[in-house]
Amino acid sequence: MTFRIRFFLVCMIVLVMFLLHNSFFLWNLDGYVPLLFGFMPFAYSYYVGYAILAVLAMKLISDLAWPDPPEEITSQFGDKESSKQ
């Protein structure tokens, strides 16, 4: 898979997370199911779940499109700095 396609998938993940945050159609559940399991307010627990999903999303993004740089790229400035000091 090329980086372009992998980055496209990353954009899709972002879009899904954005839609899940702006899911106004789910707001009715605040009234229908005010307390999840009888004690957890729905409007609150939704974002507890969202936080766990965000961790998974960042893990997926990191695996998909976050390559580590070749060493020669990150070492060049460091070498120059240390030679100055």
């Binding site: 945050h21 936080a51 999903l53």
Partner: protein, 492 residues
């Protein structure tokens, strides 16, 4: 009233901060890179706590809890929901590419990175001016919030001016000698402290109010509107959507956050930080949301800015004096960890991006001037905090909006080779001017089509960047190669 145990805890807390500053100052090398960037050697825990502690301000405990008091559980999603994901995502989207450029070319600030990409002194200057302009009010907000909380918890024994002075003074004590290393070490200490103590405080308040289920049942019975987002005018979908463009995407633009990302040792550090960041945000805002909502039934009837004091009030009314001091330590830790990083960031910006326009500074002279500027900016911020302009939330909202509308230029610079200095210049100025016209009520509010001003300004920034870049000459190939040639070698 604060008892002896409480005074002892405060003394230990301050002593640890001062000791960290003293030790950091002893081991720090007197070079620009070491003082302002900790030698670009921050590991995962250091970067994580530095970003987290710097990001969390007085607003989290003071403003957000007050907002939750008024609007209910929906405040959680409104203020921090989108941030939980998008803030760490911007550490990848903008942070990682900037970090690569920093490692490769030695850039340390936004004026250097984006002035360097566009090869433009004007772009660099605009970044400098806007970042200072928006960071200083944000710094003042932190001091006001911390000062008010300190005064409230001590029941006025420590007057507001003295509270503000203590907060700034202690921050300077460890920031001046140790620079970024000192603030990062204290961030690790203070960030851990405020996370742990905040959760302990929450469970103590819950116990005092009869337990989690009992309080929730009280809310369902006495104030059911707190459970339904659809019933709050402030949480109207158009506001909810607009707010996605204020709080969450502004964070990567904060100079204190951006610089800390550039100071990370490796790519792995940034990945780990991005992955676990959502949990830390969710926990600390989760605590302040619950405190605010619980406060609405435990201490009903507060209005406006009164509600901002709900956390100190809950502690004062329902817990022992020792808890009050622990609450104060949480507020101080939160406030000071953001104040020190903001102070260092503005001092860093002026030292490396403004003074060299007039005089070439050696590495040691830069450290000297950085320290002088820390004191000058602290003095200015203290004075403005005494005047207290406007309400906490609106000042923070305006500064956040200002930062947010700079993001399109940052993304454009890192992802779009056709973006040029003309487009970037226009896309920095035009949305900032529009934002002011809307916030100062020069333009009627209907011109935002019901959105908060930040959203049309953000869209405008994108459009201006694209249109002006296309209408003006493309950047020369060798200039593009410097940035995008590097990225092509990494992102394959």
């Amino acid at each position: 009233m604060i008892n002896l145990v409480g005074i002892g805890l405060l003394v230990i807390y301050f002593f640890i901060l001062i000791a960290i500053g003293f030790y950091g100052g002893r081991i720090a090398r007197k070079t620009r890179e070491d003082y302002f960037m900790a030698g670009r050697g921050l590991g995962s825990i250091a970067v994580f706590m530095a970003l987290f502690a710097s990001n969390i301000t007085a607003f989290t405990i003071i403003g957000h809890a007050g907002f939750a008091y008024e609007t209910g559980y929906g405040a959680y999603g409104y203020v921090i929901g989108w941030s939980i994901f998008i803030t760490p995502f911007t550490y990848y989207l903008v942070g990682y590419r900037s970090w690569l450029l920093g490692k490769r070319y030695g850039f340390a600030t936004q004026p250097q990175v984006f002035g360097g990409i566009f090869k433009s002194k004007l772009v660099s200057l605009l970044f400098l001016v806007f970042l200072l302009y928006y960071t200083l009010p944000y710094l003042v907000v932190s001091i006001i919030g911390g000062g008010l909380a300190f005064t409230t918890v001590t029941e006025g024994m420590v007057p507001y001016w003295l509270s503000a002075l203590v907060i700034i003074g202690i921050s300077l004590v460890y920031t001046i000698p140790a620079g970024l290393r000192g603030t990062v070490w204290t961030d690790i200490f203070q960030g851990t402290l405020f996370l742990v103590v905040a959760v302990m405080l929450l469970s103590a308040v819950a116990r005092a109010l009869g337990g989690f289920s009992e309080i929730t049942a009280d809310i369902v019975r006495d104030n059911p509107a707190m459970l339904q987002r659809g019933l709050s005018e402030e949480l109207a979908p158009i506001n909810w959507f607009s707010y996605s463009f204020i709080n969450s995407i502004a964070v990567i633009v904060f100079p204190q956050i951006y610089t800390r990302i550039l100071a990370a040792r490796s790519s792995l550090n940034l990945k780990q930080v991005s992955m676990y960041y959502p949990l830390a945000l969710a926990v600390i805002f989760g605590v302040s949301t619950l405190m605010g909502v619980w406060g609405s039934v435990a201490v009903p009837g507060l209005e406006g800015q009164e509600a901002d004091n709900i956390v100190p009030m809950l502690i004062h009314q329902f817990l022992s004096p020792t808890w009050m001091v622990l609450g104060l330590v949480v507020v101080l830790a939160i406030v000071k960890s953001s104040i020190d990083s903001q102070l260092l960031a503005v001092s860093h910006l002026v030292t490396v991006d403004f003074l060299p326009r007039f005089k070439r500074l050696s590495s040691m002279q830069a450290v000297f001037w950085g320290r002088i500027l820390l004191v000058i900016f602290a003095g200015i911020a203290f004075y403005v905090a005494l005047i207290q302009p406007g309400a906490i939330l609106s000042i923070a909202g305006f500064a956040f909006s200002g930062f947010s509308v700079m993001l399109p230029v940052m993304i454009g610079a890192l992802y779009w080779p056709r973006a040029n200095k003309y487009g970037a210049t226009a896309a920095l100025i035009v949305p900032a001017v529009m934002l002011h016209l809307w916030y100062l009520d020069v333009l009627p509010r209907w011109t935002t089509f019901g959105f908060m001003p930040v959203f049309p300004s953000f869209v405008l920034a994108i459009l201006v960047l694209i249109v002006v870049s296309y209408l003006t000459p493309a950047p020369p190939p060798e200039q593009r190669e410097k940035t995008f040639g590097l990225f092509e070698r990494v992102f394959q």
